[in-house]
Symmetry: C2
């Protein structure tokens, strides 16, 4: 078998760092959501770019599928080995290689997690802003074009990856981008690999743009009678150009779940959670303007926190919201939707979604990065209830249809994997074939995370 | 002949809007810089996407080269038809199709110029920030990944193009991106076409992100004894995180030229030109902080302008600086360098460049978008003096070598065309072949702007 032949060679290359142990395989066959466990045939733990290149050369020779693995938190089955093959786990390539305070960038290996990176940056006065709810790896985040609560101010991985080192499907090491802030030197390969979910190559190093920790930070919480008032408040805030650093929606069901899970005492109403970054006066100005807008939309209990521990509690709660919601219904699995629409259509999208879930008896708290027009419904189901699972999948599909009809996208930040593959043709039309042509050009033997993102090869 | 056969069919398609008149051909064979005139065999003026698609189908059938044309201001020979063929001039596709004030974006045809666009936006309170020195077309600007004085605050075309309609080399119409603020739905094709200089397809529509006109704007001018003090002042300003909207360097030779050309009376010293955007207090705060930094670096005559007419005079002068410099030496041609380096290396880069020009007796005023680490030396030469031209080309090459050795790029914003083709291999190594593979996949017959940007086809 070609996979077995590859494993033989890989084991010679990596020794103990190539494993076929049942436990490790099972662990690397899981995902956070509803896809069936699909273990790889082996897990490799390379330590250097050269090793990754050797791994890919071996896999290319044997036409063996290769699936990258950061922390496995992606939500559309991206890191699962549906066609078997070798999982390349970047856990041992997790170093921060170089911090440039002057240029405000950092060079890292892909396996470092966002929290570990910010730990290392702590003394520098700089931070890396992109913060998905999970403590994901930077390589995985780049590969799914992740974002988080701060994208409304600092952008997504698209905006914050300056340069990459990538090993191609042939096992060649290339570098894309540079440490310069901008460049017009040819095709934007960095941008092409960001969001490519390991289907074009494996990322072995990243240069990331950093931000200065602002002079002043304050958080705020504000309750609204109804979700649409909260959403309309967001729309006005964005349209006014208030440079909020974070503006997150949690609906009433989410509030109930986080109150229980994180021991909060938020009133059972839809809330906006905010953060303002700037100078002392700038932050005060922003909060004041926001407060006035919130009031117009029936916001109440507008409450500030400038103490770091209060802020941390708030954002830890927000980052744990997914787990809080899942925990609110023991034993459930979930489909996490991820549509993103133009901000002017956000209220319509959220309202239609809520009504639809209600009409179809689907249990789905809503929360999201509403400043970007991006929100998630956590559609829970009993894994033993086929009917409920079907209702959930149908609701998820209707929501994507809605988002596309409003000029939006099926996925604001989670990516395609296999979960959203069925929407690609509708979302992109013939442009999806162009993606397929690029994939074929860069990975002619279709060994890089096969079966994901691009049209199935004939 | 294949080109002649294509012209026959195109002329049936477009009638009068396909021309082979000597004058038009010559005009479309020129560039602003030092490349020889290379006229196309015909110029097409399509009016709709469908016509562009038909043009490309005809050219594909006959393997006829196709070169897009916006306003022809690109500086590396990008729009010149070195292999003949058909020039597709977008002058008649210059409409603003839809302005969304709520979502702060606009849909335009590629032929609209940046000034015409901002004229149309005037009543909306919104503006499009990217501003190369020339009044370029939006399609051309996207194709070269252009930027300008405001990129330090608002980014380049990379950051401001949200979605595209593109006609591929086969004549197929595709749409990339969406009106959502972010998306993880597959490869970033928008980012791939931006900066591709018409080598992958022709852009027929663009959705652009807009900015709100800030509540307060002020400009400032500050003189420095020496260039390195000005540059170090820039470095500190950026590192302090002051969100300057513009921060431009003009060296002493540039100042002399603009004084004559634009009737200014700046003291003959290196200057920084700045603009601050924000609230009234925010702008005052920024200017104050900058003033203090400038003083530390020997800055003098720090002067503010809040009156729109003063600001306009300043930025018109800056936008005309290239022409001012060229006019300072009647009959000259110029090689415009465009390196961009990490900000920490900017002083070193500028100083080394100046010393090198002096040592080799090259006449080259320096100016640039220094907040991004990007600067231009306008290397003038007498077109009849082969020796001087060679000295200029050598100096340009040494400057690129320097920038690459400092971790920078050969071109911050002007692009590759044929002028920088010779540096691509050095800058990108094997990644340049990956660009070639993408080109081959999307344009197998090499009809789209052949001979530019990617490795020559064997
Ligand atoms: C509770 C929770 C909250 C979340 N919140 C958010 C959120 O707010 N925003 C958001 O964007 N996402 C969110 N996610 C999704 C997930 O965290 C992101 O998709 C994240 O980017 C995945 O990173 P990872 O390291 O876990 O990648 P993995 O899941 O390990 O891999 C993701 C993909 O990248 C590939 N890959 C991994 N490493 C590499 C590499 N070095 N080179 C090439 N390919 C590689 C894998 O093959 C796979 O295709 C959340 C997930 C959970 C469970
Ligand atoms: C005085 C002066 C100052 C300048 N200052 C700057 C500056 O500050 N910053 C900067 O970035 N540049 C600057 N430039 C360079 C130039 O203005 C930019 O490169 C600009 O983007 C070119 O736009 P254009 O419409 O003239 O494009 P063109 O020169 O007509 O074309 C540029 C390239 O794009 C292709 N193209 C054009 N339209 C399309 C389309 N619709 N679809 C596909 N391909 C197309 C062409 O084939 C060509 O390859 C300056 C130039 C001059 C003369």
């Amino acid at each position: 078998m070609t996979i077995q032949a590859a494993i033989g060679d890989l084991s010679t290359l990596l020794g103990q760092r190539l494993t076929c142990s049942k436990g490790e395989l099972a662990q690397h066959g899981q995902s956070e959501t509803h896809f069936p466990i699909s273990p790889p045939d082996a897990v490799a733990y390379p330590e250097t770019t050269e090793e990754v290149a050797s791994v890919l050369k071996i896999c290319a020779e044997h036409h063996c599928p290769v699936v990258g693995w950061g922390t496995g938190t992606s939500l559309e089955g991206q890191a699962q080995a549906f066609q078997g093959g070798v999982c390349v786990d970047f856990a041992r390539m997790n170093k921060v290689l170089e911090i440039s305070q002057e240029d405000m960038h950092v060079r890292v290996q892909p396996g470092v997690t966002r929290q570990a990176l910010n730990e290392e940056l702590r003394a520098t006065g700089l931070f890396f802003p992109v913060d998905p709810g999970a403590n994901a790896s930077i390589g995985g985040m780049a590969s799914t074009r992740a974002s988080g609560t701060t994208a409304v101010r600092y952008g997504t991985m698209r905006d914050n990856v300056m340069a990459l080192e990538v090993v191609t499907a042939k096992g060649e090491v290339i570098r894309t981008g540079s440490a310069a802030r901008k460049s017009s030197a040819g095709y934007d390969l960095t941008g092409l690999f960001v969001g490519s979910e390991g289907t074009l190559g494996l990322i072995t190093e990243l240069t990331l743009r950093l931000q200065g920790i602002p002079e002043a930070i304050s958080s705020a919480v504000c309750a609204f009678p109804e979700v649409d008032q909260a959403v309309n408040c967001v729309i006005d805030t964005i349209q006014m150009g208030i440079p909020v650093a974070r503006i997150e929606l949690v609906d009433i069901d989410s509030v109930r779940a986080v109150n229980v899970y994180s021991g909060m005492t938020l009133p059972p109403k839809p809330h906006l959670l905010l953060e303002f970054h700037g100078s002392d006066t700038g932050v005060a100005e922003q909060a004041e303007t926001f407060g006035a807008i919130a009031e117009e939309h029936g916001g109440s209990g507008f409450d500030w926190a400038t103490k770091p521990e209060d802020r941390n509690a708030l954002w830890t709660m927000r980052h744990n919201a997914y787990h809080a919601i899942i925990a609110s219904r023991p034993g459930c699995r979930a489909v996490v939707t991820d549509v993103c629409v133009p901000i002017s259509r956000l209220a319509e999208a959220v309202e239609t979604c809520r009504a639809d879930l209600k009409a179809h008896d689907v249990n789905g708290p809503i929360l999201g990065h509403v400043g970007d027009g991006n929100f998630h419904a956590i559609l829970m189901f009993d894994p033993d209830d086929a009917d409920e699972k079907q209702r959930v999948l149908d609701a998820s599909r209707r929501l994507v249809d809605l988002a596309l009809s409003l000029g939006g996208t099926s996925t604001g930040e989670h990516g395609i994997g296999i979960g959203k593959l069925g929407y690609m043709s509708r979302e992109h039309g013939p442009a999806w074939s162009v993606m397929g042509a690029i994939k074929t050009a860069l990975d002619p033997d279709n060994i890089m995370n096969p079966g994901k993102l691009v049209p199935p090869r004939n």
